[in-house]
Amino acid sequence: MQTIGKSVYRKEAPDKVTGAAKYAADFQKPGMLYAKLVISPYAHARIKDIDISEARNMPGVRAVLTGQQAPLVGEEIRDRPPIAFGKVRYHGEPVAVVVADTPFQSQTAAERIRIAYEPLPVVNTPADAIRKDAPLVHENLEQYEKGVMTYSEPNTNIANRIKIRKGNPAKGFLESDVVVENRISFSPSDHAAMETRCCIAEIAADGVVTITTSSQAPFMVKKILSDAFGIEAGKIVVHTPLVGGAYGGKSSVQWEIICYLASKAAGGRPVKLYYTREEDMLTAPGHVGLDATVKLGCTKDGKLLAAEIVYLFDSGAYADKSPDLNRAGAVDCTGPYHIEHIRCDSLSVYTNHPYPAPFRGFAHSEVLFAFERTMDKLAARLRMDPLELRRKNAIVPGHTTPTRVLLNKSNIGNLPRCLERLRELMDWEEGTLIRLSDRKVRAKGISCIWKTSTINTNASSGVILLVNPDGSINLMSGVVEIGTGTKTVLAQIVAEKLQMDVSRIHVRMEVDTQTTPEHWKTVGSRGTFMAGRAALAAADDLIRQLKDMASRVLRCSPDDLEVGGERVFLRDDPKTSVSVKDIAYGYTYPDGNAIGGQIIGRGNYILRRMTYLDPETGAGVPGPEWTVGAQGVVVEYDRRDHTYQIIKAVSVIDIGKVLNAKAAEGQVIGAMSMGLSFAGRETFEIDRNGIVRNPQLRIYRPLRFGEHPEYIVDFVETPQLDAPYGARGVGEHGLLGMPAALANSLSLAAGTDLNRLPLIPEMIWRAKEGVSHDSV
């Protein structure tokens, strides 16, 4: 192989180091107007009155928008007015929008809108939300339109409940020698992508709606605008330039809808809506919170028999993707272990918090934190090595998942091998708790990981390849370049298939939904698999056409031809050949006769044999494959003041096949960093009134340079047989086990169970000293 596995530089690299790379906010248009939001200062309040009269008469103001009863939007449940109507349900919810000639004018006018609120009781935790007497966040839940596999419970705050029923848990616990139960919780937090959300919307005289947006889901923007506002799908064109970090947060559709409404109100003129950091953190959807209880039973030698689990996902004010999140959490509710008897209720519950978007790992780092903390608790109870307990119960081909998918050597990676490698890399035999001085200890914690991608059962992806007159190729895919480098990997896949130099594959970075083939959404580590399959299909199509054309020129059967090095040649006599460039636009005979035309390769891929889950038992096929892995963290902890440093973070992931070595490693390290940052420091500080007190990067603090540990990444390669070159999804997996591994290492170091995130020294101090958390 020439290209696969090589650390090919990103195709867009030169643009990104020179400032030439363009993101949504970098675009200007003549006559462009600027929208500014007015957001709710309350988490839950009735809107008594909105006075826009003064704002409307301010200089430069072209339109002022307030909420309407219809249409409602939302991906899984249509429960959200794009601009609040009647009441506000979270701190930061859009209440009004001003459109004016300049950003200065729109902001100045927005400040003149007077809104009278009547505060309502706030639902502030998932546990509060399911109390019988809890205030309702949505009074009309029953009437909302819902997607498949969304099971709401009207007159409660339960937006969705997914049930997993496998085996006979009562029997499993009865047969267990040891039973432990553990509760965990953490509040919502944020993606904090460096690029805040931005959209430009415009409606032409012929009704064509053009959107430019920082989104992972341009095709979903198109669908939602079409569905909600009755616009012909063909009249919506969504552009996504480069996206400045997304991590799931830009797969929700919100700012585009508001921006479309703003343009509509301003007669279709181009309108830019740029979220400030504060709006990006408060208004735009964030990272889900979770309360969970996990109960495990096992034999005295550590064989897991039964699990009983309750996950309460904090769906915040609106459902949007939350019903998918709690379903994903249910599907892989146990971690990658073989357990016969499982009962899990996984719920999305409404609260008065900012609502969640997907977050890298899509509910998996969250449920793994709950489950893997319990595994360590169980190991401690058994006085068993936590790595040995995991090895003993590791899920392997022949076992079934919680939704009863029978695993085989293709649809799951090799977890035991990942654990063995982790054991070596972490120097496990040295011991897990090592005294360094009177005050300091070094401690090691681990977590297993797995994930399948519960994207829509009929999600598809397409690729088009156009041959240039010089024989090079233009590649077009609907995958958005959010930083994962997927489009460069697609170029490698095509180059490999066509046996040509990857530098001769030109990749279109921008997506526009009018001319780019659809890729469902750039989420779930599915870009390389789905778009990769489509790229292979397109390359095959191209090869077939090249051979067909060459067979006429070379007067032979297409079956005797091969393609490589931008030539088509006879297999047994490669000197007899024709250049791709000479047939790319058809072939012209010496006398001027011509045949054929521009060669266009096309390919698509749709997930196969995915099924809906049974509403009573959860049985069904939720995703194509499971990537597995084992991760660990080494900390040095000060027993006097409870501060600590993360010394080392280790990931061993079964990636199937490494397609681009440095890019894959970078994805894993980046995800690990994000997971440690989430686990160690990041949370929304939500007060008793549901107000988020830290919507700025000065007080919401992602990991900084120098706070990062040493990263160790290693790959196991168990090919997924139906994936391009066997590669498995890996964009999210580095994150999944970090919270649990960090908490496990610190629980060991501190000698107390740490079950809340983030793991700040004050929290450890409270756990050690038994001081309650509610004094602030």
Binding site: Q107, Q645, R701, E707, S775, V776
Partner: protein
């Protein structure tokens, strides 16, 4: 984007600066002195500060002074924190100020801005409180010298229209043994839970704090307790903790009871290091 307009002035002398302030004030423009300006820009963006005119003091020669005059260190209020750190005439100051914000921000943040801003940590005050420095302050009544204890201890006490020109510190203080530690909520980023700076002069320990209360402070009584060398360390710390002024901070960085816990450990560390020398 700053969502309102203000005028910008760049006077070249102290006298002109003061005169300008009162003229603008008379015009109802609520002028503010502007040094590094980082805080004014960030607060103005959110309407947390309202002004019709900013007066940039960075071009006043006295405000840029940096050096020893006779036996005194003269530091202009408009010097950036990184300039002070790189010149390093007062190592305790360099150490303490290097914990403020981040390196790039400190290229812009000035000594005067850190000391006179609204953000109440004002960590750069600690070394000057420990060194009993003098503040040179310009106002309608001319240029005055005041003890930093009168201006910066326990809160900012500048009269209307007054601005900090310089800080004067006896040369001997730059050579004294010192410790400065900043403890944060987590790792190495963010505001202080507590910053403590300490100096030893003539076998007596001096200690000043930021982050414990909504103002930096140094307390004679607290130092008295800490310096009772015949008393066991733990007892001294117990006594010192009782001397803390109210109110103790209780916010998203940390609760007040946790801050006390951190303080005890910090004091122990500081005392061990300073008394061990």
């Amino acid at each position: 984007m700053i969502p309102y307009d203000f005028e910008y002035y760049r006077p070249a002398s102290i006298a002109e600066t003061v005169r300008l302030f009162w003229v603008l004030d008379h015009q109802g423009k609520s002028p503010v002195y502007y040094s590094g300006g980082t805080e004014i820009i960030t607060l103005a963006r959110l309407h947390l500060i309202k002004t019709g005119a900013v007066i940039d003091i960075k071009h006043i020669p006295e405000c840029r002074a940096l050096g020893f005059e006779q036996n005194r260190l003269v530091l202009g209020a408009a010097l950036s924190l990184t300039k002070l750190e790189e010149a390093n005439p007062f190592p305790l100051l360099s150490k303490t100020s290097s914990g403020v914000a981040d390196r790039t921000a400190r290229n812009k943040i000035t000594l005067g801005g850190n000391l006179c801003g609204q953000i109440f940590y004002r960590e750069a005050a600690l070394p000057f409180l420990l060194a009993d420095s003098q503040a040179v302050i310009a106002g309608r009544d001319g240029i005055q010298r005041r003890s930093v204890h009168d201006v910066f201890n326990g809160g900012l006490r500048l009269g209307k229209g007054e601005f900090l020109v310089q800080l004067l510190t006896e040369r001997s203080y730059s050579g004294l043994p010192y410790v400065s530690v900043k403890k944060r909520k987590q790792w190495e980023t963010g505001y202080p839970l507590i910053t403590v700076s300490a100096l030893r002069k003539e076998e007596r320990l001096r200690v000043a704090f930021s982050g414990l209360c909504p103002f930096p402070f140094r307390s004679a009584e607290l130092e008295e307790d800490l310096n009772r060398r015949h008393v066991p360390l733990e007892t001294r710390i117990d006594q010192a903790v009782r001397r803390l002024p109210a109110p103790l901070l209780n916010d998203i960085e940390g609760s007040s009871e946790y801050r006390i816990f951190v303080l005890r450990n910090l004091l122990a560390e500081v005392m061990e290091e300073m008394e061990g020398r």
